[in-house]
Subunit: 436 residues, 2 copies
Amino acid sequence: MLSRTSFSVSRTRARLSLSSSALPLPAPSLCLRVRPLSLATPRQRSSAMSTFKQEPHKLLVIPGPIEVTDEVLYANAHPSMSHVSADFIPVFGDCIRMLRELLFTQDAQPFIIAGSGTLGWDQVAANLVEPGENALVLNSGYFGDSFSDCLRTYGAKVDEIVAPFGDAVALSDLEAALKQKKYKVVTFTHVDTSTGVLSDAKGIAAAVKKVSPDTLVVADCVCSVASEEIRFDEWGLDIVLTASQKGLGTPPGLSVLVASQKAVKVFETRATPVTSYYGSWKKWLPIMKAYESGSAAYFATPPVNLIYAFNASLRQITKQSPSVEERFRLHRETSARIKKAAEELGLKQLPVKPSVAANGMTACYFPEGLTAADLIPSLVKKDVVVAAGLHKDYKLKYFRIGHMGISAIDSSRGDVDKVIAALKESLAEAKAGKNA
Amino acid sequence: MLSRTSFSVSRTRARLSLSSSALPLPAPSLCLRVRPLSLATPRQRSSAMSTFKQEPHKLLVIPGPIEVTDEVLYANAHPSMSHVSADFIPVFGDCIRMLRELLFTQDAQPFIIAGSGTLGWDQVAANLVEPGENALVLNSGYFGDSFSDCLRTYGAKVDEIVAPFGDAVALSDLEAALKQKKYKVVTFTHVDTSTGVLSDAKGIAAAVKKVSPDTLVVADCVCSVASEEIRFDEWGLDIVLTASQKGLGTPPGLSVLVASQKAVKVFETRATPVTSYYGSWKKWLPIMKAYESGSAAYFATPPVNLIYAFNASLRQITKQSPSVEERFRLHRETSARIKKAAEELGLKQLPVKPSVAANGMTACYFPEGLTAADLIPSLVKKDVVVAAGLHKDYKLKYFRIGHMGISAIDSSRGDVDKVIAALKESLAEAKAGKNA
C-alpha cells in the first residue's frame, strides 16, 4: 500500500538497523550464473590484454604512488560492471582473501573502501576508540602528528611519545607509558613516509601484549604492506591499515584495513554509537562479509575498476613468482643497494641507524650547499621522479626515493640502475654548477 | 636541531592548524616546468590512445555505474604519476574548473575526494550542521532514509517529510515545515536512485529562499548531475553532491561535491570543531584551492588515475559536442523513448506522474505474475544488465534501467534500441513460459 504524505516528527524515527542498511540485493542470486570463486580459476583474458602497454613515461620513484604493471592498469580500464553482478562479486571476494594471505592472518577482517590511506585513521578513531578514551600515539614523523589529529577529532584523549627526528620510539618508553595509564589503542607508523623511519612492529606488539594485553595494537602500514615483513597473527597485531598505491602496486583510491577478531569484538561491544557514517564498520562489515561469501550487499558503490586493479596486483603478489617471502627479501636487497649507493655519493640518510631505516624507501639529506632546486629538476630531466621532503621542520633539507613493488623486485626493468645512475650524474652536475 | 625523545603529555599539544595540515609542497614549483593551464590545450596523446578499445562486454544499463567511453578508460590506465607533479596539477585543476562550468556556477567551491557518493553526506553532516542543529530531509526513497541516518550520526536533529512511494515531497509541505521550525539545512534527493523519482530542485530552492532564506539548500544529485538540468547559481543551490559513476561517466571512486560561497562561509564560521577527519573541509579546502591555483598541497593522496579519467569525461561533457544543454535535451528524449516503450509493453512505472520521473533512469514494476527471476536473467542472456529494486519495502516488485551518459546521448551506439528490443523479447518469453 502506498503511504500517504506525512510530515512526520522523525526525531523518533528509528535508526536504520545494521541489517536494513546493508540491504541484501536480490539481483545476483536470482539472475546470474554463479561463477566458481576459486582463485585457481584465472580470469578470462582477451588477446587485448597481451597487447596493452602503458604509455612511455618518466620513472616514478616516490614513496607512492609507485610504478604498476601493465596488467594492473589494464584491469583499471575494465569495462563498466555492475557492483552487484555475479562477475564482480568474486573479484571483490578474492581481494579480501588474498589480503589475508599477504598479511599471514587466518581470520582477521579486511575492509576495502573507496578512499585514501587517511580514511583508515578515521576507521580506527570512529570505530574502536570511544569519546574520552585514551590513545597512545608512537610518533616517528608527519604521519604520527596526523593520526593524533584524527583521533582527537573523534574525541579520543591522545598522548604521544615523540621520537627524535630520524628515529623510532624506544620500546622502553612505550612500556613506561603503558605502565602509567590504560590505553584503548596504541598506534604507530610502521614506515613514516615523511622520514623513511621504520618502527619495530613485532617488538611494539610484544611490548603491548606484555604490559597491557587488552590494548589494541594499531599499525599504520600505509608505506609498508607488501614491502616490509608483516606477520599479523604471529606478532599479535590488531589493525593494519594501508592504501593501494604503495607496496600494493595499485593506483591510489583504496583505503585498505585489516582488523583482528579482537578488534572487531571491541567494535561490536562499544557502548556509544560509531561517530562516523562513511567510515562506520556497522555499515561496512556486512558488506565485506557478503562479498566474501559470494553475494552482494549495498551500502555505497564500491570503486569497481580499482577493485579489478587491486585484484590483479594482489594476484601477482600472492599467486605468482616471486613469493611474498621472497618479495620481502628482494625489497631488503634493493634497499641495501640504494642506501649503499647513496652513502658512496656522500648522501646522509634521515634514519639515524640502519635498524630504523625502511626497506621500501630511502630519505637522504641534500649534500651541504645543495637544495631541492639543484637536484630534483635535474633528475626529472633524466626521467627520474623522486619526492621532495615532507616533514614540517625539515622538508627543504632532504628528498625521498621510493623503491617498492616492481621497481624493487623486478631487476629486469633496470629501475634501480637508472635511479642510481641519474642520482650520480645529477649530483656531479649540481656540484660542478656550484663550483663553476 | 634534533629533538630529544620526550614522553609528552600531549592533550595540550596544539591541533595542527589549517595551514600546517595542508603543507605546501616545494617540489612542483621548484623543479618542474609549469604547463599552461588552458583548457584549450589538448592533453598530449600517443597513438596508443587511438587504438585502445575496451573489451567486449554486456551492456550495462543500471543507474550507475554506467557505460563509459574508451577515452575515459584509457585515462584510467594512465601510467602512475606523482600527485604533486606539474603534469598532474592542471589535470586536477581543470576538473575543478569544468565542474563549475557543468553546474553553471561562477564561484562555488568544488571538492573532489577519493570516496563514494555517500561521503558527500558525511561532508554535509560534519562540516555544515553542528551537533544539535536542525536538519530537514525531504525523503523520496531509500537515499532519504540514508541521508537522515548520516545526519543523525553527526548529531543533527533530523525531521523528515516522507513522500508517498513513487512521489516527491509537495512544496506546500516543505513550506509548512519551514514555517514551523528553523532549519540549518534542507536536503533532498534530486533523483532517488531507488525509485527513479525526480524532485523539483528549482522549486525546492525557491521555496526555501522564500520562507527561510538562511537555510542551506542541499541537493543530493548523485543520480542527476550531467543527466538532469541543474543551474547552481540561478536556482540558488548551496550544495550539489554527487559521485563519478553516473552522469559524470567515470568509474566509481570519487565523491564530488560543490558548495556555494554561502555554505563555505557557514563552514568557516561554525562554532564547534568539524566532526570528521577524512571528510573535513578544513583539510580539503586548502588542497582544492592549491590545485586550482596551479600548485600542490598534501592532505591525503588523491586518486590520481581516477582524476585523469574524470578529466577526460568532463572534457567530453563540457568541451565537446553535444553541449551541456543539448545533453539535457538528449537525456529527456531518450528517457521519453524508453518510458513510452515500457508503457507499450504494459510496464507501470514507480513514479506516480511524468513530472516526478527522472530522465536518467526508469523504474518499472514487474508485470502481474512475473518476478525478477523471470526477467532479469533473461535480459542478461541478451547481454543487457539492468538493476533489481532497492527500496526496502518494494525491492522485489520492480526493476531499474539506467540511461545516462553515452547510452543516452550517443544514438549511434544503439544502446537504447538494444535495451528496448531485449526487454520486449524477454517479456514475451517470460509470459510464454508462464502460460506454457
